[in-house]
């Protein structure tokens, strides 16, 4: 039987951050319409950042997202430091990386156990069933550890206060960090089992060829530094990426979409854990590579539904890296380098939990913002999510409407969209 004229709507997506929905229309087995609608109210960050001091910027951009505020602070301070020619001490670089590990841990744990995990057990929430309780309890443990580490280094886990242009306002005591080490090491051991657990989840067949984009780095799994890597093409400097992608506006969304410029077309691409793991597999420690191998996770991951597995891999990595950074930490007197604010322009990308987060700033001669561009990971993924939905719908056009609706929601959810983030985009100006 041919399904004809099906119209499927999700008015308000649940278990995602922010407000969005889905509209699907299937005609003669073809996806006639596929939209991820974003009705999150715009907040105009790029407008009110104009005229503000560079020093205010990390506090402001943090407020774009309550789940990954640190990512915004990182892209901001790196861009400013590039303009001013500031080089932070190596131990500050380590501490910033440790902060990022902490954010990956809490953000990934939130998504794995609260937002996406329940989908694989047919649950409406993480606390809907006693059977899920042991899984949730494990997740709470990881999440708490990430948040506690973030709070130790950043003052608090939501909108941390220690990250500033030039370094950190305060460095932690060695003994306070060392007190965390046993818990981090235990969590790392435990996280390897989470990779095995995630690999056994029932993933529907959903493989397709796609373009992966993430930072790549010669020596380490990328967080704060590197080149923009792309599965179709050579790595490029961060500033070239802004011209390689184009953002475009669609009427049904307050978030701009993005695509990579191909000959005449815009090609959707994917940022986030799957792309990072695929492009940086050799930077993962052998313990994690072994855990993936024995769990049957084959790289590259081509099934976007397996993002949860990629997140467990990165959660394990962040724990492993956190332990390493804590062990080699040496306390220093000053975590801050003085600088003179200058005018200029810079682009910087760091890897937010949900993927590459690009900031561009132009400052006047006393370091006040003249213009800026913020390209969050979720808006880069919107076009890709629609491609994913389209392929799903065309494979299963004959399926029952309710089932298609539920599956479509899951497809969006496995991308861990952060819609509050996505809505703050500006055209390059």
């Amino acid at each position: 039987m041919k399904a004809e004229g099906k119209r499927i709507r999700v008015d308000s997506l649940s278990r995602v951050e922010g407000e969005g929905g889905i509209v699907l229309e299937i005609r003669d087995g073809i996806a006639a319409q596929v939209k991820v609608t974003i009705f999150e109210a715009p907040r105009f960050f790029e407008a009110f950042l104009q005229g503000r001091s560079h020093a205010d910027v990390p506090d402001f951009t943090a407020r774009i997202c309550g789940i990954c505020p640190l990512a915004y602070q990182m892209s901001s301070v790196h861009a400013m430091e590039k303009i001013f020619g500031v080089h932070v001490d190596p131990f500050v670089r380590d501490l910033r990386r440790l902060l990022y590990c902490a954010e990956w841990i809490e953000s990934h744990a939130l998504h794995i156990y609260f937002l996406n995990g329940p989908d694989f057990y047919g649950l409406e929430s993480a606390w809907a069933s006693k059977d899920y309780l042991p899984i949730l309890t494990r997740g709470l443990g990881f999440k708490k550890l990430g948040n506690d580490l973030l709070a130790l280094l950043g003052g608090r886990s939501v909108h941390p206060i220690s990250v500033c242009v030039g370094g950190l306002t305060r460095a932690p005591r060695k003994k306070d960090l060392m007190a965390f080490l046993p818990a981090v090491e235990r969590a790392f051991e435990a996280s390897l089992k989470e990779i095995a657990w995630a690999a056994t989840l029932p993933f529907p067949e959903a493989e397709f060829d796609t373009t992966w984009v993430s930072l790549v780095h010669d020596e380490e799994y990328p967080m704060n530094e590197g080149l923009m890597g792309c599965s179709k093409g050579k790595p490029m400097p961060m500033e070239d990426f802004l011209t390689a992608v184009k953002e475009f506006q669609v009427a049904y969304s307050t978030a701009l979409h993005a695509g990579i410029r191909e000959a005449t077309d815009l090609e959707p691409y994917l940022v986030g854990p799957i792309s990072r793991v695929n492009l940086n597999r050799d930077r993962l420690p052998s313990a994690i590579q072994d855990a993936m191998k024995s769990s049957g996770i084959v790289l590259p991951i081509r099934n976007t539904r397996m993002a949860i597995a990629a997140r467990t891999v990165e959660m394990a990595y962040a724990l492993c890296e956190a332990a390493r950074l804590i062990r080699r930490y040496e306390e220093a007197e000053k975590a801050f380098v003085p600088y003179e604010p200058l005018g200029g322009e810079a682009v910087w990308v760091t890897e937010a939990p949900r993927g590459s987060l690009l900031h561009r700033y132009r400052l006047n001669e006393v370091g006040y913002v003249e213009s800026c561009t913020i390209v969050p990971s979720t808006s880069q993924n919107l076009a890709h999510m629609e491609k994913d939905l389209r392929l799903f719908v065309e494979r299963h056009a004959d399926g029952p409407v309710d089932w298609i609706r539920k599956e479509a929601e899951k497809i969006i959810r496995c991308n861990d969209p952060c819609i509050s983030c996505a809505v703050h985009v500006i055209r390059p100006g």
Binding site: P42, S125, A128, S157, H159, G429
Partner: protein, 254 residues
């Protein structure tokens, strides 16, 4: 006893304050035992239905649709508590209250005509009656726990309206304003963060908004004697609680 039905609602915001609920890792399982979590889009699929004993509202009102939705939420809720700077103060996005909307939409979107937003971002209490306000950007988890406990026990939350300086003194942190001449908003800012920024050696930037009867004008005058330009003073107020600091400023000018 029937568990109270709790609803968590989001308007214009970053999600950080409702995330604080999920970040109460040690208490979360107890929380879902004590409350019937009847609506919480970030965590459950449950559709919006029926009435609520307690509504926690995050975010400011910044679109026409939200203006209608908040009235509906109020209608459904016995007690309504706002959580965080966006909900109690309009948030950072309220900075557009001091500019023209079209200058903002043109700057951010290539097709501004497709963007529907009010020219202002305002606190929930400008639109409906609010039973209690929890300040902070983000709110503190201990204040949230105290508020939920107080609700269950049927008493007022024990949260003070005095200034941040009290917390700073209690922790024995040397005053940044007096000893280092840094422009700290502590004297006019509500306590609640345990003097977090001063403990990291940076002046308070006003996450918790103006304290009761804050003498903003006096502090601004002091900043000017320290050498700050009027514009720089205003920039200190124009952050997450800009809307309420500016109001308090006008009131303190008499």
């Amino acid at each position: 006893m029937k568990k109270p039905r709790i609803g968590v609602f989001k308007f214009t915001s970053c999600d950080g304050c409702q995330l604080s609920l999920l970040n109460m890792e040690d208490d979360l399982l107890g929380l879902v035992e004590l409350f019937d979590v009847a609506y919480f889009r970030e965590a459950t699929d449950k559709p919006l239905k029926g009435t609520f004993d307690l509504a926690l509202v995050e975010g400011s009102i910044s679109t026409e649709r939200q203006r209608e939705e908040i009235v509906d939420v109020r209608d459904r809720s016995r007690v309504l508590i706002t959580i965080g700077a966006c909900a109690v103060s309009g948030g950072l996005q309220a900075l557009r209250n001091w500019a023209s909307l079209s200058s903002y939409t043109h700057l951010v979107y290539p097709k501004p005509e497709d963007v529907h937003a009010l020219s202002t971002s305002t606190p929930i209490s400008d639109h409906v009656y609010v039973d209690f306000e929890l300040w902070g950007c983000p709110i503190s988890m201990s204040a949230l726990a105290e508020t939920l406990t107080a609700f269950l026990l049927g008493r007022r939350p024990g949260i003070r309206g005095y200034s941040l300086c009290m917390e700073c003194k209690r922790r024995g942190i040397p005053c940044l304003l007096v000893s280092r001449g840094e422009p700290c908003l502590g004297p006019i800012t509500r306590a609640g963060c345990e003097a977090l920024c001063p403990s990291y050696g940076r002046p308070c930037y006003g996450c918790f908004g103006p304290k009761d009867d804050a003498n903003v004008e006096s502090l601004m005058r002091h900043f000017q004697t320290m050498g700050l330009a009027a514009k720089e003073c205003l920039a200190l107020l124009d952050k997450m609680n800009s809307y309420t600091y500016r109001k308090a400023h006008l009131e303190s000018r008499g």
